[in-house]
Each structure stands twice: as C-alpha cells, then as structure tokens.
C-alpha cells in the first residue's frame, strides 16, 4: 500500500487504485483535522460556555 512495500510497482493499476484511496483518505484526514482544530479554537473562544 506504500511505494516502499516490495510488491509496489508504478503501473496504472497501482496509481489509479492507490491514488483513489489516498485521495479519499486525504480528504477525510484534512476534514477531520480542520474540524478538530476549529473546534478547539472555538472552544477556547467560548471560554467554557457550551451554549452561545
């Protein structure tokens, strides 16, 4: 699943498949990171008050 795995080869199959996979994982990762960071920032702004 990584280019350093020995069965990895740079062919169409790997590029398309793994490309799609890493693309999806990246979106999920960035999305979640964004949410978490933003939530942390929002929370510190709120100063402990759960309801605005």
């Amino acid at each position: 699943m990584f280019p350093f795995n020995f069965e990895w080869i740079w062919d169409m199959g790997h590029v398309v498949f793994m490309g799609g996979l890493w693309y999806a994982l990246t979106i999920l990762g960035i999305g979640m990171t964004y949410c978490i960071i933003k939530a942390a920032m929002d929370a510190s702004k709120d100063n402990g008050d759960p309801h605005h």
Partner: protein
C-alpha cells in the same frame, strides 16, 4: 437515574426495563462472542465450511449487511449532495444503521479469515487487481466515514454537548458533512460494486461470471444499484420496526415517502437491469461455456429456479410497483410488504451470489454440494444483530437520533386525533422524573 443523559423533550422507558432489554440482547451477544472466540482460538474447523464452500454463511451475511447498510450512503448522497432536505429527519438513523452494518461486516470478516492476526496483509501487501482488496480498502475507509458521520450524533448527547470542544466539534463536523458524505458515496459506490465484482470476476465459475466494462463486471454495477435501492428500504424497515417497538412515530411520513419513492424507482430500474443481465447470461454467456439455465438450478429444491423467480419478480418487481405508486407507498401495509420484500430480495441475491456459486459444479464429473452452517457460524452471524439492537437501543435512549421525535410525540396532553395512535403505546413508558415543560 440516567435522566441526565436522555435527550430533552422525549420520553424513555424506565432504566430497569431498558437494562432488561439490553440484558436479553446481551445474552445473545455473549453467545455470539463465545462462538467468535471459539473460531479465533480453535480455527475455522468450528464451522461447517469446507473446500467447496470456502465462502458460506458469513460471506453472505457480510454481503447482505453491507447491501442493506447501503441506506446510509444513499440517503447521505440524497441528503447532502442532491439536497433532499426532507431526509434530514432520517439521516441520523440511516447513518447509525449503516454504522452497525459496516462494523458488523468488518467483524464478520475478521472472524471469517483463517489467519485473523494477518488480516492487515490485505492492506499492506495489497493486490490492487483483486476485487477483495478494493472491498477491504473501501469498506474500512467508508466505515471511517460512517464513524465520522456518527460522531456528531454522539456529541449531541446532553452531557457530552456540555463540553465546549465536543460541542464545537459536532457543529463543525456538521458543517463539512457534505464533503464527508461525498467521499463516503464515492467509497461506497466502489465497495458495493466491488462486492458484486467479487463474484462477477470469477471466470472459472460460469454461474457467477459476467462480462463488463474495464475491470468491472456487470455485477459490480448491479450490486451498487441494488444496495442503493434496497438499503433505504432497510432503513425504513428498521425505522418502522423501531417505531413499533417503542410505540411512537419517530420519522415524519414525508421523509419515509420520499425515500420510499426514490427506492422504488431505483428498485424498478435495478430489476430491469438485473433482468437484462440475467437474460444475456442465460442466452449468450452461459451457453458459450456449455451451460444452460437449468444446469444451475435443477439439482435440488434449495437451489431451485424458484430462487431466481423470487429474486426478480416477487422481491423486485412487486416492491418496485408498490413503492413507485403514491397509493402503494402511502398504504402502511403495502409499504411494509414492499420494504420487507425488497430487503429479502437483496439478501436473496447476495445469498445466490455467494452460496449458489459454491454449490454449482463446474467440472462435468463434479457434484452438487450442500451446506448447513454450524451453530458457531449461526451464532456469530446473529451476533451483529444483537449488537445492532443494543447499539440502537443505547443510541435511541441517549442520543437525539430522531430530530422529529419530540415534535411528533409532544408530552403535553395529546390532541384528539393523535390519541388513538398513542393508545398503542405501552403504559410503562412514563418517566416521572421528566417534566413536560422540557418540551
């Protein structure tokens, strides 16, 4: 006792009753867990699988739960991408059901493989040409998506929501949910399809093999399609069952009807596609390999031609016809029948695409083989059911799964027209600690 955890404005049964219910389901769950550990520690000899039935009950259960779990991705797709807002009242539950289905599928896979501790080889040493690799990747990724979709719901629990970070996290996740949903739909499309592809690429098995486009056999598309068609039916079915169990209306009719209508059309088009696929298979593909239709169906009653007729006509055309007509889907009995048939149909299709493939002999001197699952297999297959019931019960009790619940079941004295409906509700449902003012 646990009233602080229960969402505002809704009534829940007393804790003892809840615990009794969880306990009952828990016993079933433990039975399944026991069987699961037997399989892990003693090996797959605990099953009745054999070298002919290398895929059996579990793989069927896997395919079936993923198919019916398809309600999550399809409802999400409709809600977030196509903007069908009416569905926002059922999307939470769709996500929860999907979450249960997908976690169950992963669990069953973890039991099903002969070397569970090496299961991660499928990722690490992935063969990108294998449909199963595609399944594994998309399945686990989509399970991640479902978790992401489920988290905000958990965060809405009254107590958790009090934590500002969680509150904001939930809020922010809602904000970008469309992105997650789109990714989920993308992943789902592929793993639903590749589950179909798992069977379709078996060119050594004329019963399963189909031609297709690029690397994807027709079954790839048929599986995605049927999951999109029948998954929402399962969501509706579980919703309806939940409503029966708790004795309340939880989702507004317009959401159910919209979903039912879309399902109906999906099912109709799917059935037509399936029919064309079957026709081509019977008249061109199978004969080119020396098989006639009845070679696949005639050996014994279990794997008889009834299975094909049931799948296409009774569980395809009939529910589709009910669901696409407004009269049909508005009629509660007809709706019940339609969604049940659709769910049975998709499960039957997955059954056929797993077990009948194994049963049909290919070599002329080979024999039909029958298979009866062992209790360990049955227990581990029921295990997700018990786990699902428990997770639904907990989620329902403590999380605002149904945004319309409070609105549909106001705790003030009931208006006259709703009194009838209310009368079927069990009387024990009263919780003295909750004040009606909360609504």
């Amino acid at each position: 006792m646990d009233s602080a955890l229960i969402p505002r404005g809704v009534k829940r049964c007393p804790l003892w009753q809840f615990l009794l219910f969880i306990g009952a389901a828990g016993i079933v769950l433990l039975w399944g867990v026991y069987a699961m550990f037997l399989c892990w520690f003693k090996g797959l000899n605990q099953t009745n699988m054999n070298d002919y039935y290398g895929f059996a009950l579990w793989i069927w259960a896997d395919l079936a739960v993923i198919a019916v779990g398809g309600g999550a991705f399809f409802t999400g797709l409709l809600r977030y991408i196509f903007g069908k807002d009416a569905l926002k009242n059922i999307i939470n539950y769709a996500v929860l059901i999907g979450f249960i289905c997908y976690s169950s599928a992963l669990l069953i896979l973890a039991i099903d493989i002969g070397q569970p501790l090496r299961g991660w080889f499928i990722f690490w040493h992935a063969n990108v040409h294998s449909m199963l690799t595609e399944v594994a990747f998309c399945l686990s990724c989509y399970f991640g998506v479902l978790t992401i979709e489920y988290i905000p719901l958990i965060l809405e629990n009254r107590q958790i929501d009090k934590v500002p970070f969680f509150h904001h996290l939930g809020h922010n996740m809602h904000e970008v949910m469309a992105v997650f949903a789109a990714t989920g739909a993308f992943l789902s499309f592929f793993h639903q399809g590749s589950l179909g592809g798992v069977a379709g690429v078996l060119f050594g098995r004329p019963f399963a093999f189909r031609e297709g486009i690029f690397i994807w056999p027709w079954t790839f598309f048929l599986f995605t399609w049927s999951a999109a068609a029948c998954g929402p039916c399962f969501t509706i079915l579980v919703t309806k069952i939940t409503e029966k169990v708790v004795g309340k209306k939880l989702v507004k009719d317009n959401a159910i009807e919209l979903l039912a209508k879309i399902s109906g059309w999906m099912l109709l088009t799917y059935t037509i596609a399936k029919f064309i696929d079957t026709w081509y298979w019977v008249t061109v593909l199978a004969p080119s390999q020396g098989f006639t239709l009845m070679d696949f169906y005639s050996n014994n009653p279990l794997y008889g031609i009834w299975i094909l007729i049931t799948e296409i006509a009774i569980c395809g055309l009939v529910p589709a016809a009910i669901l696409i007509t407004p009269k049909g889907r508005k009629n509660p009995v007809a709706l019940w029948i339609a969604i049940s048939l659709a769910v049975v149909g998709v499960c039957l299709n997955r059954w056929v695409m797993v077990l009948q493939i194994m049963a049909v002999p290919v070599m002329t001197f080979d024999n039909w083989v029958m298979y009866l699952p062992s209790w360990q297999e049955v227990a581990t297959t029921i295990l997700p059911g018990a786990y699902g019931v428990i997770l639904i019960a907990i989620s329902y009790r403590y999380l605002p799964v149904f945004p319309n619940e409070a609105e549909l079941n106001p705790m003030e004295p009931l208006p006259a027209e709703e009194a009838e409906e209310k009368s079927v509700e069990p009387s024990v449902d009263l919780e003295p600690e909750l004040t009606p003012a909360e609504a």
